[in-house]
């Protein structure tokens, strides 16, 4: 059963960079779209609220696969314009998950206590400073755990790219399946699932690290900042 394990791992690894590029690119663009859509839904301008809300409901309501096929197959037929597959893939992943992320950002910003906003107003901070220095740093701590789940969803969604012939790891596994005996097919998919597991654990580890940093910036941590710990040591001495 494991005779070809080395071969299987090395073949699957050939697709790993594509999966990682799609996931990382998708995550980066998702963050941008989430912030734009989330803040848009909280905007005082009705038109911006309307546009953001429509974007969010549209991309949450239509299936991701339909969106993927639409960009890959329908858009070129309509416009005669074919986007580079990997770029189109990143775009679809981000448009879809950005809609979910928009709700996360909106919820997190709204969860910041109103007194924080009023305090910033009383200090006559500009609206930009209110958002960037007071509200968002606090909202960020609330956002990170749901974003962790969202990014893992996005990673799992990169497997859909195999359906539009992007040679990521699931596509390679499917093409290996046809060439291998039954017992080794199981090995192929076991290795494939483990690869996704490791990638999702990496995402979780990264997000936990960000959570600790974001919480520490707000002083919500048990670890004493360095300058204080030196003070404590001097006092103890």
């Amino acid at each position: 059963m494991f005779d070809n394990l080395g071969l299987i791992v090395s073949r699957l690894s050939e697709g790993l960079s594509t999966t990682v590029i799609a996931a990382v690119g998708g995550i980066a663009l998702t963050v941008v779209l989430s912030l734009v859509a989330g803040l848009g839904m909280l905007s005082p301008v009705a038109v911006l609220r309307g546009i953001s809300r429509t974007y969010v409901e549209f991309f949450r309501g239509t299936s991701e696969i339909v969106q993927l096929f639409w960009i890959f197959f329908a858009l070129p037929a309509l416009t005669g314009f074919q986007i580079v597959p990997l770029a189109a893939a990143i775009l679809v992943l981000a448009l879809n998950h950005g809609a979910y992320g928009g709700e996360i950002v909106r919820g997190a910003v709204q969860s910041v206590p109103r007194a924080q906003y009023e305090g910033a107003l009383a200090l006559s901070l500009s609206s930009r400073d209110r958002m960037l220095r007071v509200i968002l740093p606090q909202a960020l701590v609330e956002m990170l755990p749901p974003f962790n789940n969202l990014f893992i969803q996005l990673l799992k969604s990169t497997s859909l790219l195999s359906l539009v012939v992007v040679t990521e790891i699931t596509f390679i596994a499917n093409s290996l399946r046809a060439a291998l005996p039954v017992s080794e097919q199981l090995t192929v998919y076991a290795v494939l699932l483990l690869m996704y597991l490791v990638l999702s654990l990496l995402i979780t580890a990264g997000m936990r690290w960000l959570e600790r940093r974001a919480a520490a910036r707000l002083g919500r941590t048990r670890a004493t900042p360095r300058i204080n710990s030196r003070l404590h040591k001097e006092q103890a001495a």
């Binding site: 949450r60 239509t62 696969i65 339909v66 497997s159 399946r177 998919y189 996704y196």
Partner: protein, 217 residues
């Protein structure tokens, strides 16, 4: 190439037949996920050594990996080990198993939200274990988790199309088939998207109303 209304209307009946399959898969997958998720949640809570850790490890593993790969594994690889399932059955099993990993977390939160006093009162009354669960805890836990379960039904509905990889003839498969026959994919594929929106958007509004009634967990 422009939008052809006649062709769009022509393709609608076939798409609606595909949609029936999508809805059937969602219904059966949800029922399996509800039942299996409860089993997972109870086994993990039971703290039976080894078994409850195994279930925990499986849930964490299974929900970190793609449903598409799991469906392919169940449909294409299991027959080699003597387990042959039809595309729809394999699809329902894949959906049910994947979403059971999510629903088990939902049940767990719901059970944790039952106040301690309820457990203590049940213990004071010396109720048998089965009645503690069936008569006291679950009747309070389950209504609270209905909106969260509803949200998972909606996301499952939108994930059914990936079963096209194992040959389930659901709505996107039908759209692709129509596209292959006529070389016009735009209309059926767009209509498929509209059908998803027409069902999932009202459904999500309904779940939000439920959330307001019973509170978010």
């Amino acid at each position: 190439m422009i939008w052809d209304w006649d062709y769009a209307i022509e393709s609608l009946p076939a798409l609606l037949r595909g949609l029936q399959v999508t809805l059937l898969a969602t219904l059966l997958g949800s029922l399996l996920a509800f039942a299996l998720g409860l089993v997972f949640a109870l086994v993990r809570r039971s703290r039976v050594p080894v078994l409850s850790q195994l279930v925990w490890a499986f849930v964490e593993f299974w929900r970190s990996t793609p449903l598409l790969v799991q469906a392919i594994l169940i449909f294409f690889v299991l027959p080699g080990f003597g387990i042959t399932l039809s595309p729809l059955t394999a699809g329902v099993v894949a959906l049910g198993l994947h979403y059971a990993c999510y629903t088990s977390e939902v049940y767990r939160a719901g059970i944790d939200a039952v106040p301690r006093g309820q457990w203590e009162a049940a213990a004071a009354l010396h109720l048998p274990r089965s009645r503690v669960w069936l008569g006291v805890v679950l009747p309070q836990a389950v209504p609270r988790v209905v909106p969260a379960l509803g949200n998972y039904v909606i996301s499952m509905f939108k994930e059914v199309p990936l079963l096209l990889a194992i040959g389930v003839v659901e709505v996107v498969t039908v759209a692709n088939q129509l596209g292959a026959q006529t070389f016009r994919l735009v209309e059926p594929l767009t209509l498929a998207g509209v059908l998803f929106l027409l069902i999932s958007y009202p459904a999500s509004l309904l779940v939000r109303r439920l959330e307001r009634r019973v509170g978010v967990l």
